[in-house]
C-alpha cells in the first residue's frame, strides 16, 4: 500500500497496480481513524485516543461499537486493495489498534528519513547531496498535513511536528543552496518564505545573505529593517544576535560574507593568488590543483567580490549562462570603455559560477603595473605559478613559450577551471593562456574586443542605468541614507543631489565609486556639496580622485594606449559641442576625407574612447573633459582655432532643406547654437554670421526665441566687427522679426528701424524693403492702415528687382494683410491678388513653406472663422471689436 498524508489523504495499492485507482476512504470519520493510525504508524493507538480524535465534543454512547465498525470498514477497504491486507495491516492490540506500515509505504515516514539524511549531509558539508535530498523530501508535500481530514489532539500534534520538520528541511535546503552559490535563484523563494513566516528569523537571514551576495546590499539592509520592524511590532523584541551580527557584517561590507563558507575557507587556505599579491603558499595551491579532479578542494584564486557591485543584472545573467554552458575552446570577452567595471563584472560572474568550476578559479592581471603589459610567456609563467605548476621543469628555459603552454595545458587537462584574464591587450597575449579542454573556460576583460580569437562571446558594458547608478551611490551612503534609515551626515536623504552626481559622473561606475569615496573620506560633505563641485567641468576630473581611485588616470591610460593618429583625432574632436555628431562633422573637424576620417573615428570607437549609436558618435562626458584637457595641453592655439573654424564651416554647410529640415534642426539645434558661440569666441566673425544665417528660418519656425536672440545678437556683434553692413542689417531685421513674433512691439520697431538705416547705409535693397515691411506690420497691428500703406509702397519699390524675390514676397504678403485690414468690399479681392503674387514668388524661390502659406491664405481668404495667419505659422489673435 501507499499512504500519502502530506497533503490530502490518498491511498493507493502498491507498485504494479493502476495508480489512478484510489482507495481513499470517502467518509471523514474513517479518514480520521486511518490518519490517526498512520501518524502513529507501527505504534499501538489506544481506543480512548481514537475516540477522543473522532468525537472531540464528547463521544456518543455507542462510541466503542461505532469505532469497531469503522475499524472493520477500514479492514474491508484494505482488503479491496489486496486480499487479506486488512487483517495483516490493521491489527488489534491491547489497548487499541496498530497499523503496520513499511518505511517506504507512508510519505511522512519517507519525509522523516530524507530529512534526517539531508541534515546529516549538511553537517558533513556535502551540500550538493543535502540540497538534492532535502529538495526530494520537500517535494513530497502536497499541502498541509491531512488537509481534508478533521483534526483532533493527535492529528493536531502530528501536524505541528511535521510542519516544523518541513520548515527545518526548508531551512537546511536553503543553507545547502547558499553554500553551493545558488543565492541568485533563492531570492524569490526567500521573499515568499519571509512573507509567509515573518517571524522566522533564519529565513530573513538567508534572504539578507542572498541579496548581499548578489550585490544588493541596500536591499539586504532593507530586509533587516523589515524583520526588525515586524519583531518589534508583533513581539516587542529586537532581532536575535545572529541577525544583528549579519546586519553589522553587511554594513561593514564583510567580503567573507560574499562567498559560501566552504569557498571562503578554501580560498583562505589557498591564500588568494592574484598576481601582484604576496606569493601563495605553493604547496597548498599545488595540492589543490594536482589532486584528482573532484577530490581536491577548489582553488579559488579570485579577488573578493566587490561589495559595492551594483546592477548589471542582464549582463551577469548572460555571462553566467555563457560560462556554465561554454563549449570547449570558447571564452567570454568583457569589453567596454575605461571605468565601466569590466573587472568587477568578470570577478562577480566568476564567483557566481564557482560551482561549475570545482577545480579552480584563477585571476591573472595581464597588466599588473602601469606601463608594459605582460608578454604571453610571462603571463603563462605567472599563471603556472599561481596554479601550482612548475614553469621550468628539468632545466628548460623558463620563458620558452611552447614549453610553458604545454605545461599549462597539462596542468589543466581533465579539470574544470575558470580563468579570469584581466586587462588583456592583444590576442597574442591571451591566446596561449586559453583553456582548450571541455569544462574549462576563460573570461577576458579588455577595452578592445579581441576579435581575432576564435570562439569569443562578447559582453559589451556601457555605463550604468540611472536607477543602478542611484542605487550604487545610495548603497554607499551618498544620499545621506545608509539604507537602515539612518543618515550618514544626520541630514535627510537628498535623492536629487544623488541623481545629479550620477549624471555628472556620466553614470560611469569608476567615477561613481570615486564620488562615494570622496563622500566617505569627507563626512562633512553633503551629496549636494559634491554635486556642486562636480558641476564645474574644469574641476570635475580633479574632484573624482580619491586615494588611488583616480578617474583621470584611468581614462588617460586608455588615451595613452591609442595610436598617435587616434590621440590627435580624440583631442581635436573636443572642439565639437557636447552632443552627438555625424561622420561628416567629424571629417570636417579633423580636416580629412570621409573615408580616412571614418576609419579613424571607428578606431576610436574600438578603443572605447568614443561611443557610436546609429551612425552618430559622441563622447562620454568624462572622456570629453579629458579630450578638452589634452587639446589644451598638446595642441597649439592656432591648431585649436583651425579645428574650430573647420567645425563651424562644417555646421554652416550642413543645413538641410525641405521636409527633413525640422528633424535635422531638432537634432542639431544645441550643437548649432554652440557652434555660433564657438565661432564668436574664436573671433571668426564671418563664420559667426554665416552660421546665424543658417539658423534664422529654423529658429523662427520653432519659436526658439532664446537661441534666436543668443545667436543673432552674437552675429550682429560679429557683423559690426567685420564691417559687414549687409549682415548687420540682416541681423537687425531678424532680431526685429524675433521681437515681433514675441510681441515686443517697441523693441521690434527700434530694431527694424535700425535695420532700415543699416540697409540704407549699406545699399542693401532687400533688407531695406523687408525692414519697411516689418515697420508696416507694426502699424497694421495697431490698426494704422494709412501709415502702413505709406511704408509698403516704398518697400515694394525697393525690392522690385528680380534678385529680391524674397523681399517682394514679404511686401506682397504685407500688402495682402493691409487689404484685409482696410476692410471694404474690395479688400478680399485685393488680398487675393497679392497672395497670388506671393504664390508665384514662392514657386520662383522654391520655398515650399512660403508656397504652402500662400495657398492656405488664398483658400481661407473668405473664411469667416476668424483668426488670421499673418506669417507662415504665425496667427494673430485679436480682441473682438
Amino acid at each position: 500500500m501507499r499512504f500519502r498524508i502530506l497533503g490530502p489523504m490518498e491511498l493507493h495499492a502498491g507498485a504494479g497496480t493502476d495508480p489512478a485507482l484510489s482507495y481513499t476512504p470517502s467518509a471523514a470519520k474513517l479518514r480520521v481513524v486511518l490518519a490517526t493510525l498512520l501518524v502513529r504508524a507501527n505504534e499501538v493507538v489506544s481506543v480512548e485516543s481514537l475516540i477522543d480524535e473522532l468525537w472531540q465534543d464528547g463521544p456518543p454512547r455507542t462510541a466503542m461499537t461505532t469505532l469497531q465498525v469503522y475499524v472493520s470498514q477500514l479492514r474491508k477497504l484494505l482488503d479491496s486493495a489486496g486480499p487479506g491486507l486488512g487483517r495483516q495491516t490493521l491489527l488489534t492490540r491491547n489497548p487499541g489498534y496498530l497499523l503496520r506500515v513499511a518505511p517506504d509505504e507512508c510519505d511522512a515516514t519517507v519525509f522523516d528519513r530524507l530529512q534526517e539524511q539531508g541534515r546529516k549531509a549538511l553537517e558533513a558539508d556535502d551540500h550538493a547531496t543535502a540540497a538534492d535530498v532535502l529538495r526530494e523530501a520537500l517535494g513530497l508535500w502536497r499541502g498541509p498535513l491531512l488537509s481534508d481530514t478533521p483534526h483532533g489532539p493527535v492529528l493536531d500534534s502530528a501536524s505541528v511536528r511535521l510542519a516544523e520538520a518541513r520548515t527545518a528541511a526548508l531551512d537546511h535546503r536553503v543553507r545547502a543552496d547558499l553554500q553551493l552559490g545558488r543565492h541568485r535563484g533563492l531570492i524569490a523563494e526567500l521573499r515568499s518564505l519571509t512573507a509567509e513566516q515573518p517571524l522566522r528569523e533564519e529565513f530573513h537571514a538567508h534572504l539578507m545573505v542572498a541579496l548581499y551576495r548578489t550585490g544588493r546590499q541596500a536591499e539586504a539592509l532593507r530586509a533587516f529593517g523589515r524583520v526588525r520592524r515586524t519583531l518589534i511590532d508583533e513581539l516587542g523584541i529586537e532581532p536575535g544576535p545572529v541577525l544583528q551580527r549579519l546586519q553589522k557584517r553587511i554594513l561593514d561590507g564583510d567580503p567573507a560574507l560574499l562567498r559560501p563558507r566552504a569557498q571562503a575557507a578554501a580560498a583562505a587556505a589557498a591564500a588568494v593568488a592574484t598576481v601582484g599579491a604576496p606569493a601563495a603558499p605553493a604547496a597548498v595551491v599545488a595540492a589543490a590543483v594536482t589532486a584528482a579532479p573532484g577530490t581536491a578542494p577548489a582553488a579559488d584564486a579570485l579577488p573578493a567580490a566587490d561589495r559595492s557591485f551594483t546592477g548589471r543584472t542582464s549582463e551577469l545573467e548572460r555571462m553566467e549562462a555563457l560560462l556554465r554552458n561554454a563549449p570547449a575552446g570558447t571564452c567570454v570577452a568583457v569589453t567596454g570603455k575605461p571605468g565601466t567595471g569590466k573587472t568587477a563584472l568578470a570577478v562577480e560572474a566568476a564567483h557566481r559560477c564557482a560551482d561549475a568550476f570545482p577545480d579552480g578559479r584563477f585571476f591573472l592581471d595581464l597588466r599588473p603595473a602601469a606601463g608594459r603589459p605582460l608578454t604571453a610567456a610571462e603571463a603563462m609563467e605567472r599563471l603556472l605559478r599561481r596554479a601550482g605548476g612548475d614553469p621550468a621543469p628539468a632545466g628548460d628555459a623558463p620563458t620558452d613559450p611552447a614549453r610553458l603552454q604545454d605545461a599549462l595545458r597539462a596542468l589543466f587537462a581533465g579539470r574544470r577551471v575558470l580563468l579570469v584574464l584581466d586587462n588583456a591587450v592583444s590576442e597574442s597575449q591571451v591566446r596561449p593562456l586559453l583553456p582548450v579542454t571541455e569544462g574549462s573556460t576563460a573570461v577576458i576583460t579588455s577595452r578592445r574586443l579581441p576579435a581575432g580569437l576564435g570562439g569569443i562571446r562578447p559582453v559589451v558594458l556601457d555605463t550604468l542605468t540611472a536607477e543602478d547608478a542611484h542605487t550604487l551611490l545610495t548603497a554607499a551612503g551618498a544620499g545621506g541614507d545608509t539604507g537602515t534609515g539612518t543618515s550618514r551626515d544626520g541630514t535627510a536623504a537628498d535623492p536629487g543631489a544623488v541623481d545629479r552626481i550620477a549624471e555628472l559622473c556620466g553614470r560611469l561606475p569608476l567615477a561613481l565609486r570615486a564620488a562615494t569615496a570622496q563622500l566617505a573620506a569627507r563626512p562633512h560633505w553633503t551629496a549636494a556639496a559634491l554635486a556642486g563641485r562636480l558641476q564645474d567641468e574644469r574641476g570635475r576630473l580633479d574632484a573624482l580622485r580619491a586615494g588611488d581611485l583616480d578617474v583621470r588616470a584611468r581614462l588617460r591610460a586608455a588615451y595613452d594606449d591609442a595610436s598617435g593618429a587616434e590621440r590627435r583625432a580624440f583631442r581635436l574632436l573636443a572642439v565639437l559641442p557636447p552632443w552627438p555628431f555625424g561622420p561628416g562633422t567629424a571629417a570636417g573637424v579633423l580636416g580629412l576625407g570621409p573615408e580616412e576620417a571614418g576609419a579613424l573615428v571607428e578606431s576610436l570607437v574600438d578603443a572605447r574612447l568614443l561611443d557610436a549609436d546609429r551612425g552618430r558618435y559622441r563622447f562620454h562626458e568624462l572622456l570629453r573633459l579629458l579630450a578638452a584637457e589634452r587639446l589644451a595641453a598638446e595642441e597649439s592655439p592656432s591648431e585649436v582655432r583651425a579645428a574650430t573654424e573647420r567645425m563651424c564651416e562644417t555646421y554652416a554647410d550642413a543645413e538641410h532643406a525641405g521636409p527633413a529640415a525640422a528633424e535635422w534642426f531638432a537634432q542639431e539645434r544645441p550643437a548649432l547654437v554652440r557652434a555660433v558661440r564657438a565661432a564668436y569666441d574664436a573671433g571668426l566673425w564671418e563664420l559667426t554670421v554665416r552660421l546665424a544665417d543658417t539658423l534664422t528660418g529654423h529658429l523662427e519656425i520653432h519659436a526658439a526665441w532664446e537661441d534666436w536672440e543668443t545667436t543673432h545678437t552674437l552675429a550682429l556683434e560679429a557683423a559690426g566687427r567685420c564691417g559687414d553692413l549687409a549682415a548687420r542689417a540682416r541681423m537687425l531685421r531678424s532680431l526685429g522679426d524675433l521681437a515681433w513674433q514675441h510681441r515686443r512691439l517697441v523693441l521690434a520697431g527700434e530694431l527694424w528701424d535700425r535695420a532700415r538705416r543699416a540697409a540704407e547705409e549699406g545699399d542693401d535693397a532687400e533688407e531695406y524693403g523687408r525692414s519697411l515691411v516689418g515697420l508696416a506690420e507694426l502699424r497694421l497691428d495697431s490698426g494704422a492702415v494709412t501709415e502702413a500703406a505709406a511704408l509698403l509702397g516704398p518697400a515694394l519699390a525697393a525690392v522690385a528687382a528680380p534678385a529680391h524675390a524674397r523681399g517682394r514676397y514679404e511686401a506682397r504678403r504685407a500688402l495682402a494683410l493691409l487689404a484685409l485690414e482696410s476692410g471694404g468690399p474690395d479688400g478680399p479681392g485685393a488680398a487675393e491678388a497679392h497672395f497670388t503674387a506671393c504664390l508665384d514668388l514662392a514657386t520662383v524661390l522654391r520655398d515650399r513653406r512660403l508656397e504652402a502659406y500662400a495657398r492656405r491664405s488664398l483658400r481661407t481668404l473668405r473664411d469667416p472663422s476668424g483668426a488670421l495667419e499673418i506669417r507662415p505659422g504665425l496667427w494673430r489673435l485679436r480682441a473682438p471689436a
Binding site: 510681441r743 517697441v746 483668426a867 489673435l877
Partner: protein
C-alpha cells in the same frame, strides 16, 4: 462638462481674442509633412502663445492686484483649443469643443506677483505671458480626433511659472443638441430633487473673494461650518463678463465661483487673507451643464492647514458644484497665502 467653456463658433468674432490685447499664436511643426500638404495632423502639435497679460479686463484686473489672475491661463486654452482642433487636426467646423477638465499648478509663485500694476506702463514694460502648448489628439476616428489633450507650460516675463493640462472633446452637432435638450429636460423632471435657497442669497463682501467690484462677486454668504461651507452661486446682478450662451452658466462663471469659494473657505476656516491669497493648484473636472435659471450650489470642504514647499500657509480645498443635487463640477484647489 460645460459648453460655456467652448469657443463660440456660432457667432464667431472676426478674430479670436482675449481681454484687451492682441496676441500671437505660433505653430511649431515637429514635422513639415502635414504642414506642407495642409493635411490634418494625427500626432502631437506644438504651439506657443504669447502676448501681454490683460490690463483692463473687467474680471482679471479687478481686485487687490497682488497676483495675475490664473484664469488668464484657462481662458488662453479655452480660446485656442477649439481653433487648434479645427485648424490643425481636421475637426469639422460644426463640431463644438467642450472642455471637461483643467488642471494648473503654479510652479513659481514669484512670477505670478504683479510687478507692474501701473496700467499706464509702456508697452515693453508690461507683463507678458507665454504659454507653450502641446496638443495631442485623442480617440482618432478615420483620422479625425474626437478630443484633444493639452499640456501647457506657462511663463510670465520669461520665468517658467505654471504647468497644467486640459481635456477638450468635440461633439457631433446633432448629438450635442440632443444631449443638451435631454439633460435640460431631465434636470427639470425631478422636482423631488429640488435644491434651492430659502431666501435669496446675499453676496459676500468682494474683499473676501479677492475682488473689488460687487458685480464680480459670484457667490453668496455661505452657510454650514468652517469645515464645510455651502454657498449659492449668484446668477443675478453679476458682471456681463459672466454671460453664458444658450441659457447655461458660462465656464468662466463656474471657474470664478470655484475660485471665490476656495478663498472664502480658506479665509473663514483659517483666516487666510483673500487679498494676499492665490490658488497655487487648481484641478477641475466638469461633469455636466448648469442651467442659468436654476439654483447652483457650491460646497467647499477645506483640508487641514499646512505649508507649501516655501513655508507659506496652504489650505487644500475640495469643492463640488451641484444643481438639483446633480454634479456639475468637482474641483480640488490649494489656497496659498503669500506676503
Amino acid at each position: 462638462m460645460t459648453d460655456a467653456m467652448t469657443v463660440d463658433s456660432g457667432a464667431a468674432p472676426p478674430e479670436l481674442g482675449l481681454g484687451d490685447g492682441t496676441r500671437h499664436l505660433i505653430h511649431c511643426p515637429p514635422s513639415w509633412d502635414h504642414y506642407l500638404l495642409d493635411a490634418p495632423s494625427i500626432g502631437d502639435e506644438h504651439f506657443v502663445l504669447t502676448g501681454e497679460l490683460p490690463r483692463r479686463h473687467p474680471l482679471f484686473n479687478d481686485g487687490p492686484a497682488h497676483f495675475h489672475d490664473l484664469q488668464v491661463t484657462t481662458e488662453t486654452i479655452r480660446e485656442i483649443g477649439e481653433f487648434v482642433g479645427h485648424r490643425y487636426f481636421g475637426v469639422p467646423a460644426d463640431r463644438p469643443g467642450l472642455f471637461y477638465r483643467f488642471t494648473l499648478d503654479l510652479t513659481e509663485l514669484r512670477a505670478w506677483r504683479t510687478a507692474d500694476p501701473d496700467p499706464g506702463a509702456g508697452p515693453d514694460r508690461r507683463s507678458r505671458m507665454t504659454a507653450h502648448i502641446k496638443a495631442t489628439p485623442a480617440n482618432l476616428i478615420n483620422g479625425v480626433p474626437r478630443g484633444l489633450d493639452f499640456d501647457i507650460e506657462v511663463g510670465i516675463d520669461d520665468i517658467p511659472c505654471g504647468r497644467g493640462t486640459a481635456g477638450l472633446v468635440f461633439l457631433m452637432p446633432v448629438l450635442h443638441r440632443k444631449h443638451v435638450a435631454y439633460l435640460r429636460q431631465a434636470v427639470r423632471a425631478v422636482p423631488e430633487m429640488d435644491d434651492a435657497p430659502d431666501t435669496p442669497p446675499r453676496p459676500v463682501s468682494p474683499a473676501e473673494v479677492g475682488r473689488s467690484a460687487p458685480g464680480n462677486v459670484v457667490v453668496g454668504e455661505p452657510s454650514g461650518t468652517p469645515d464645510r461651507l455651502s454657498t449659492w452661486v449668484l446668477g443675478q446682478g453679476v458682471s456681463p463678463v459672466f454671460a453664458g450662451t444658450d441659457g447655461q452658466v458660462s465656464g468662466l462663471h463656474l471657474l470664478e465661483a470655484l475660485r471665490q469659494t476656495s478663498l472664502l473657505a480658506a479665509g473663514r476656516g483659517y483666516g487666510l487673507g483673500a487679498a494676499r491669497s492665490v490658488l497655487s493648484s487648481f484641478d477641475v473636472h466638469f461633469r455636466g451643464y448648469a442651467e442659468r435659471d436654476l439654483p447652483l450650489r457650491c460646497v467647499a470642504v477645506p483640508g487641514p492647514l499646512g505649508h507649501d514647499t516655501d513655508g507659506r500657509p496652504a489650505v487644500p480645498v475640495t469643492l463640488s458644484l451641484t444643481q438639483r443635487r446633480r454634479a456639475v463640477a468637482e474641483a480640488r484647489t490649494v489656497v496659498v497665502q503669500d506676503f
